[in-house]
């Protein structure tokens, strides 16, 4: 009896985990599509790694609520994204996508960047 219950719990957890993973994959895919469609890539790069036009969004991606708060009321160069253009659910998907992006290497692990120094002498 006990064994059966344990087996059921394990099966449930596996199924739940698998479903969660599938759902997460779908969210990541949706997030990437939205990220590209609404033009985040233009300033932040196709994988959120940033450039002079827009800072990196990953790693350490902000939670969806913080991002929503920023894009709704952006005071600077960042275009404002009202709810009509980018919903909270879409922002959550974008965060899922950004969380899934492989981290960049450290500057010191890149041969070209390792030896760079700030001054001539």
């Amino acid at each position: 009896m006990k064994m059966t219950a344990l087996a059921n719990i394990l099966i449930f957890l596996c199924l739940f985990g698998a479903n969660f993973a599938v759902a997460q994959d779908i969210a990541i895919e949706r997030g990437e599509q939205t990220y590209m469609r609404v033009g985040c890539y233009e300033c932040h790069g196709t994988d959120g790694k940033g450039n002079e036009a827009g800072p990196p969004l990953t790693p350490d991606t902000l939670p969806p609520e913080a991002i929503a708060n920023f894009v709704r009321f952006s005071p600077g160069r960042m275009p404002v994204y009202p709810e009509e253009i980018l919903s909270d659910a879409e922002i959550s998907d974008i965060v899922a996508y950004l969380d899934s992006v492989k981290p960049s290497p450290d500057a010191d692990s890149i041969d070209i960047l390792r030896g760079l120094v700030s001054e001539e002498n």
Partner: protein, 670 residues
């Protein structure tokens, strides 16, 4: 005597034809030569899509071509020397015009051939031996003007363009405007047939005008349409002088086709005036002394430099002034004013420094208002970003810049001291006055800032270095990776970044953030008028100058800009101009994509339409194939960043062997 002279010239003409034929032949056979297994510049052929077949010939072939060309050129020069010394009388008006150009040591005329200046064209190649000036074949007058612009900024010597005063000038106008906004001297020679009785048929009429220069008068400093050869000589020398006196600007000279064909019977009766360059205007001594006193007393002075360094001396002077005061410099870098690795180059800290400054000195800053105010373009608002009571001082020739129609003079900036004078010419006096005003104790006090500025510089550099790693392995390739892989391959050469198109921001300013730009010639600024179609031809013009100076020329080329004037690649191949072009191929007019999207956001009407009209996709353009078709070695399109280094290594070899090369890199937007 006369017939003998004619025979000599015919012979020279034939030799030049042979020389031209060899060049043309070499150019057309180039693509087939590259597959030679022993070629040092052999193509990376493993993948036809990413690493394309090339146009660079083998070393033997290059040596043979160069040798043959040299022999022909030498023979041609000898023949000319003989003919010219035997008969010192010029036969035609256009021959005399070439004498005038030679007196000014004019090296190049950038041109696309046209019937209204046939006489001049023939005189350059035959009478003048196609040397000083040499005719550089351009595929568009807009390219010709940009080449002259780039040539000046590398050689610090004006070049000429030659075009129809009507249809050619309409093409050239955009890049004459870019030169105007860039304060670059340029001599535009405009063909015209003034006397209607001399016009032979329809096209001659369509290619004539009462006042050709009217079209560009709002963005040239001076123009003339001389009615005699003597007047031409004086106008040419006068125009050269006006153009090269700060504020330097293009000038236009309309040259009548009838005058070009005029038979000259008495050459000795024509005089070429002596050219003496004007000394640039220096700022008034009293105002400069007052400025020096304020600089020495200021606690947080900031120096902003834009087109200060007309010459390498400008950079040395700025370094000396900044070090005397331990004052940070913000280099807008329309010319390279301050070495990027000097600890007082604090360009990346401009917002913070300007907002805290108690004195700001602007040196040849075109948009000083834009430096002391922050602008929100989306909201169309602005507010001062300087603190109350800040002393504002400018030294520039901006107030000597007297045209009103085109608005590139920017918004009016109220200042406390405005010194009209060339900043580079004024700096020696300013430095002298600063030394005079500086006590030992004040000097010691100011020197204590050095440590702080060194730390700020190091921190800023480190921040950029870390950011460059972000997206290092991304595909499309990050602009940081593209720029740093490029720098890695050229940094041991005597390199010069001759063009980045309309803005270095398009590649997130990586060269100025991480490259060691330690010489004036290493960076030549941007297409100042923002007119698209500047980048590639300007790079070719600059590379032509650098070829003689032994510098390795590099061009970071935006794709949208490339498609305006890509015929310049053929000019580079044809004239054997070594230039490494790296395509920043983001497959978009990215700036406009962002702006259209920003507008759509603001209007709350969705953003998914922003790519319409702003992306360059479907189909994607194959720039490597395009380059290959014009006889230029090429590789790409490169989407995997790991493919970039081997392609660049091969491209550098090609360029070092004296040829142009293009590497197409599919990149992130910025």
């Amino acid at each position: 005597m006369v017939s003998s002279s004619k025979e000599s010239k015919s012979e020279v003409g034939r030799r030049n034809f042979l020389k031209t034929a060899v060049v043309a032949g070499a150019a057309t056979t180039l693509p087939d030569e590259v597959s030679a297994a022993d070629s040092p510049t052999q193509a990376i052929k493993s993948d036809a899509q990413t690493k394309r077949g090339l146009a660079a010939p083998s070393t033997e072939q290059m040596n043979m071509e160069a040798s043959t060309l040299d022999q022909l050129a030498e023979a041609s020069s000898e023949q000319l020397a003989s003919s010219n010394s035997a008969d010192t009388a010029s036969s035609f008006g256009s021959d005399f015009m070439i004498d005038v150009m030679k007196s000014l040591d004019l090296d190049y005329v950038f041109s696309n051939p046209g019937s209204s200046f046939l006489g001049l064209h023939e005189s350059i190649t035959v009478y003048g031996g196609n040397s000083k000036p040499e005719f550089i074949t351009c595929m568009h007058e807009e390219s010709a003007a940009a080449m002259a612009n780039g040539y000046y900024k590398a050689a610090l010597k004006p070049a000429a363009i030659m075009c129809h005063g009507t249809v050619g000038l309409q093409h050239a106008a955009m890049n004459i405007y870019n030169a105007w906004c860039d304060r670059v001297p340029l001599i535009a020679i405009l063909g015209n047939t003034i006397d209607a009785a001399d016009r032979m048929g329809g096209t001659t009429w369509r290619h004539s005008a009462q006042d050709p220069a009217a079209m560009v008068r709002d963005f040239t400093k001076w123009d003339d349409q001389p009615a005699s050869l003597q007047a031409f000589a004086e106008s040419m020398v006068r125009g050269w002088k006006i153009s090269t006196t700060p504020p330097m600007e293009p000038i236009a000279l309309t040259v009548d086709s009838t005058l070009q064909e005029m038979k000259v019977d008495d050459r000795d009766g024509l005089a070429i005036p002596k050219f003496t360059p004007s000394e640039p205007p220096q700022g008034e001594r009293g105002a400069v002394r007052e400025t020096a006193g304020l600089l020495v007393d200021a606690e947080s002075p900031v120096i902003i430099a834009d087109r200060l360094a007309r010459t390498p001396e400008g950079m040395s002077l700025l370094v000396e002034l900044a070090e005397l005061l331990n004052a940070p410099v913000i280099d807008i870098a329309s010319r390279q004013n301050m070495p990027t690795k000097h600890y007082l180059n604090q360009t990346r800290q401009s917002g913070r420094l300007i907002s805290q400054a108690d004195l700001i000195l602007g040196l040849e800053v075109t948009d000083f208002w834009g430096q002391i105010n922050s602008v929100n373009r989306a909201e169309m608002t602005s507010e001062p970003r300087v603190k109350e009571g800040v002393k504002l001082i400018t030294i520039s020739v901006n107030d000597l810049y007297m045209k009103s129609n085109y608005q590139d003079f920017q918004r009016y900036a109220p200042v406390d001291i405005s010194i009209s004078g060339d900043a580079e010419a004024t700096l020696p006096v300013l430095i002298e006055e600063v030394k005079e005003a500086m006590s030992r104790s004040r000097s010691r006090a100011l020197s204590r800032k050095e440590k702080m500025f060194r730390k700020m510089h190091a921190d800023s550099f480190e921040e950029s270095r870390q950011l460059a790693a972000s997206g290092w392995n991304s595909s499309p390739v990050s602009t940081a990776r593209m720029c740093m892989e490029l720098y890695e391959q050229i940094k041991t050469e005597d390199w010069a970044l001759v063009s980045v198109g309309a803005s270095e921001r398009f590649v997130s300013s990586w060269p100025h953030r991480l490259w060691d730009i330690d010489e004036h010639y290493r960076y030549l600024g941007i297409g100042a008028g923002g007119g698209v179609g500047y980048g590639l031809p300007a790079a070719v013009g600059a590379a032509l100058a650098n070829k003689e100076l032994g510098r390795f020329s590099v061009n970071i080329q935006c794709d949208g800009d490339f498609m305006y004037a890509n015929g310049a690649l053929w000019t580079a191949a044809h004239h054997r101009i070594p230039l490494l072009t790296v395509m920043h191929n983001n497959r978009a007019y990215a700036q406009e994509t962002m702006l259209v999207q920003g507008t759509a956001n603001r209007r709350k009407r969705g953003v998914d339409k922003a790519p319409i009209g702003t992306v360059i996709q479907d189909p994607n353009i194959d720039y490597a194939k395009l380059a290959e078709g014009m006889g230029v070695w090429s590789a790409g399109p490169i989407e995997d960043p790991e493919d970039l280094r081997p392609a660049l290594i091969e491209a550098v070899k090609v360029v070092k062997s004296g040829y142009p090369a293009l590497v197409d890199v599919v990149t992130q937007m910025r």
